[in-house]
């Protein structure tokens, strides 16, 4: 079937905002959002008034534990995983609902767009998708809200699509202006700041520098099924190669997301192609 696929023009170059699961949930407590942080972030997004904007959030203590229990990321192996896929997706819709509620509470016209409804990966990677609905959503002034999700896969039946791959793919596909990554750490470090006191924040990296240091960047967060900071950085390289700026900031600290969305000076790591 022929699909009408809207072109994207310069005026519509969106800003992509990723809110990490570990920033918006209490990662060690099952199905527990950090409602205070969610409300504050919604307020910062409203005040920043960036348009068009697309929000992608992670799974934190909602999606990951269920996905892990049923080994969804490993693909289809056993019929008992089928209900596990449903439960993983349901867990993500629960968190998504809380995010959307917080945004609508702040008068932001958020629309949930579950990736499993329109993206099928191939061996875990996004190949193509009908981008018309998301472009039309932006044109109309909506704030599309997507998330890391259990998705179908042409090769392995199903898998987990990480919020990081999704944000990078959307940014490339929609020719984003820049990407803001809201993490639970201040940015990229020379070592894990939680265990290594001498770890140093990297405030600015070119693509070449990023490729040099990526071998040295150790995981700085609790292991999750979609990888730690290393995996996130790997996913961002494609977007950076395309000339899209990436700013990594700590979303758990007030005003960082506001400043990063406005491209004001803020503590974090800026990655540019140069």
């Amino acid at each position: 079937m022929w699909m009408r696929n809207l072109p994207i023009n310069e005026l519509q170059r969106p800003t992509l905002l990723k809110l990490g699961g570990s920033a918006i949930t209490l990662k060690e407590e099952l199905f527990t959002p950090d409602k205070r942080v969610l409300q504050r972030l919604a307020k910062e997004i409203k005040e920043a008034d960036v348009s068009p904007l697309i929000l992608v959030h992670g799974g934190g203590s909602f999606g990951h534990p269920v996905a892990k229990q049923y080994q969804i990321e490993e693909g289809y192996q056993d019929p008992s995983q089928i209900i596990g896929f449903s439960k993983t997706h349901r867990a993500m819709t629960l968190l998504n609902r809380l995010v959307v509620e917080a945004l609508i509470d702040h008068d932001l016209p958020a629309i949930a767009m579950p990736p499993s409804s329109f993206i099928i990966t191939k061996s875990g990677r996004i190949q193509s998708f009908d981008r018309s609905p998301i472009i039309k959503m932006m044109e109309m002034g909506f704030l599309p809200v997507l998330y890391g999700d259990a998705v179908l896969d042409w090769e392995v039946g199903f898998t987990i699509l990480s919020g990081d791959q999704l944000v990078s793919s959307l940014a490339s596909n929609l020719n984003a202006d820049h990407i803001v990554i809201g993490a639970d750490v201040d940015g990229l470090y020379t070592a894990d700041p939680k265990t290594t006191p001498s770890a140093r924040l990297l405030p600015h990296l070119t693509l070449a520098e990023l490729k040099n240091v990526r071998q040295k960047i150790k995981e700085v967060t609790v292991t999750d099924v979609t990888g730690g900071m290393m995996g996130k950085v790997e996913e961002l390289i494609t977007a950076v190669e395309q000339g899209i700026r990436v700013m990594i900031v700590n979303a758990t600290k007030p005003n960082n997301i506001y400043k990063a969305l406005k491209e004001e000076h803020v503590i974090g790591t800026l990655i540019e192609r140069r």
Copy 2:
């Protein structure tokens, strides 16, 4: 962009089940599901064990009041409707979550697929959509759950896609075996049974007979923004013309949905092309 669109084969001819909003919600009480009915229907669906199956539900006291307040069905007229579209969709996701929960409670691998994520109408009508995700969901053994939704529209910005148009379009597109419509009345009547004591249930109609009586069928339910029984019947004609059987039963009465899914004898209205 080229979209891989899965073919549908004879083995996969799905059964389509529509659960009317007035059957699963307390239509006169805002945002109030009929949880007892939902649990019973989930049990009947589980016991009927029909595969593949696609479920479509209506909005009842969730979607309709909000859609009406913001005149979403009339299309974009005013910026104040934008937040109204978000709120309408949110209301539908709330009801959808309750439906999906009830199904998963009964060990049915339900997956919510919001139409607004992958369908854009043209002047209120579905033109085309990427059907690959829904077909792949069925192939894997999932139970896709869709619903009447606020959707984007190429001509008028946005509108309401009724569950009735959706079920008819899905049935045609996916070459359904048959359609079960779960209403809050026993089927099609010669007059409104709620106000006309002499009203007679029509147990069987051919397509020709249906076209003859459709002028006589008066609305038998509370007016909703997507039309009453007349609108529902109009929407079904395309599917019936394609040779798809339609059985209308009262979903508020026990075992009707079970029997209709199993194609056992049940009180209601059967519509066939013949």
